[in-house]
Amino acid sequence: MISLKKNIAVSESGFVFNPTTGDSFSLNGVGTDILKLMKDGKSEAEIKSTVRTWYDVDQDTFDKDYYDFLKMLGQYKLLDAE
């Protein structure tokens, strides 16, 4: 399962801090919700269904955006290696 690194801090307003590298990031609303759900240990299926109940988006669109977002998290070294 893809998960966020344990030491990544995510604030309520979407500010992300990686204490290992010192990098900081900002998220928009949907990005913040996804990271919070990941931090809570939710599975991919749970994250997708939760976001779709909160936001007005169809499954195909969200799937495409979700995988692109995960790619960016990986690019920024915010995900666990496994």
Partner: protein, 452 residues
């Protein structure tokens, strides 16, 4: 519970230190309406993409230009530059405002006549005027601006043949201190070509030399060059008067005034760098008035400015086709309009605004058009809120040259709508269809059938 408006999830690394020299976000409010017409309604009614012309903005800009010149100089005449935008409804807005027509081809000349412009109010410029076109212009008493000696000789022959004495001007190129110098059009001032042409015209006594014309460049970011040009043309006019006793009736300063667009590579936006009509007017009128004309013999000042007159009145509405991630991690947005209908994206970083509500988050994106061509780049880098398929945008300041230089390439050209002074949209050019292209083609009989 009502669902929240969805926006694609984005994460953006925060950088400290030197600020991004390209700035941060530029869009704060969506552009949902143009002159009280909703963008989404226009696109629903006329299809996407869609060019929109604001008649209100044309009027405002024209009055601004007119005020700038007429408050400084007593005799001013604008001539609408057809090549900038020759959709007939657009031309007629300028003609209703009092502009003559300035054309650079037989096709444009015919268009001006068809629009109802009297022949005597058409300025015929350009290096390519055929014998028949010159004859027609002579018969219509149009102002013929001679570009080269071959044209002068052709005109002289036609004068003999027809017995008509046309009104002519010569186009003069000169060093005004700017680069590049546009010396491919007209006769050079410094090396004596201009005087050679003037002598030939006056001494042949077959035509009336009534004007002097120049057009020193395009998107001129310095008004001073116009001052230099106006001084040189005025000196020439006064010299002609003292040498031959003939008064030059008008000085035509051509066009080339910059619009508020931002040139590619420019650090500041066009709003900060382009001179105003007042700057150009001050430079030109001061030079002519200080040249030494007797007060009641000041020549008429003709201006053919096109780009600065209409660029801001034109909008291109379009929609997002798709988003994708490029191999180097950059975000790319594919729009349903490209360089085929927005030729000016080769020169400008056009301002692009989303037409629907968005959050304060932005991301850098490359904006591509829909063509299957690598060169189809609308913006190499734009900082915009995340947009999804179907979202709509408004591209600003596209009124000049796009509706004349657009290509029927890969896709058909879109419709053009003009919003009148009361805020009512009018279709002024229909969306192209396959039949528009097909009707020009002919199929030889032996190619009509095939088996696959």
């Amino acid at each position: 519970m009502e669902k929240q408006r969805y926006e694609r999830p984005i994460i953006r690394r925060l950088n400290t230190g030197v600020m991004n020299k390209f700035g941060t976000k530029t869009e704060y409010e969506p552009v949902t309406h143009i002159d009280d017409c909703a963008v989404k309604d226009l696109l629903a009614d006329y299809g996407s993409p869609l060019f929109v012309i604001s008649e209100k903005k044309i009027h405002e800009t024209y009055q601004e230009a007119k005020r700038a010149f007429t408050t400084r100089y007593p005799k001013v005449q604008f001539a609408w530059s057809y090549k900038t935008n020759y959709i007939s409804a657009v031309c007629n807005v300028y003609h209703q405002l009092g502009s003559w027509a300035e054309v650079v081809s037989g096709f444009e000349y015919q268009k001006a006549l068809k629009n109802g412009v009297p022949g005597s109010k058409i300025i015929f410029n350009g290096p390519d005027k055929t014998v028949d076109e010159l004859k027609l212009a002579m018969e219509n008493k149009s102002l013929i601006h001679i570009d080269h000696l071959d044209e002068l000789y052709t005109l002289t022959e036609l004068c003999e043949e027809t017995g008509i004495r046309p009104k002519v001007a010569i186009r003069i190129n000169m060093d005004t201190g700017i680069y590049p110098m546009w010396d491919r059009f007209g006769f050079n001032y410094e090396n004596g070509q201009a005087w050679d042409a003037i002598n030939k015209i006056v001494l042949s006594d077959r035509m009336d030399l009534v004007g002097l014309h120049c057009h020193i460049g395009t998107f001129m970011l310095t008004a001073n060059a116009y001052g230099v040009a106006a001084t040189k043309l005025s000196e020439l006019a006064l010299s002609i008067q003292s040498k031959y006793g003939k008064k030059i009736q008008y000085i035509d300063m051509g066009g080339g005034f910059a619009s508020k667009n931002t040139l590619k590579g420019s650090f500041l936006s066009g709003y900060d760098t382009s001179p105003s009509f007042d700057d150009y007017a001050e430079a030109i009128s001061t030079s002519i008035m200080n040249a030494g004309f007797v007060e009641d013999e000041l020549p008429l000042l003709i201006l053919e400015t096109g780009r600065a007159m209409i660029d801001e009145a034109g909008y291109l509405l379009g929609s997002v086709i798709s988003n994708k991630r490029l191999s180097d991690g950059r975000k790319a947005t594919i729009m349903d309009f490209g360089v085929n209908i927005m030729f000016t994206s080769f020169w400008y970083d056009h301002k692009i605004s989303p037409a629907q509500e968005f959050s304060h988050h932005t991301e850098d994106t490359v904006m591509y058009g829909p063509l299957c061509m690598n060169i189809d780049v609308v913006r190499e880098n734009a900082t915009l809120p995340p947009m999804k398929r179907g979202d709509q945008v408004v591209v600003h300041t596209v009124g000049a040259y796009n509706m004349t230089q657009w290509m029927q390439f890969i896709a058909l050209r879109p419709a053009v709508v003009m919003i009148d002074l009361q805020g009512k949209p009018h279709l002024i050019r229909k969306r192209e269809e396959l039949t528009n292209i097909d009707q020009q083609e002919q199929m030889p009989d032996y190619l009509k059938e095939f088996k696959l």
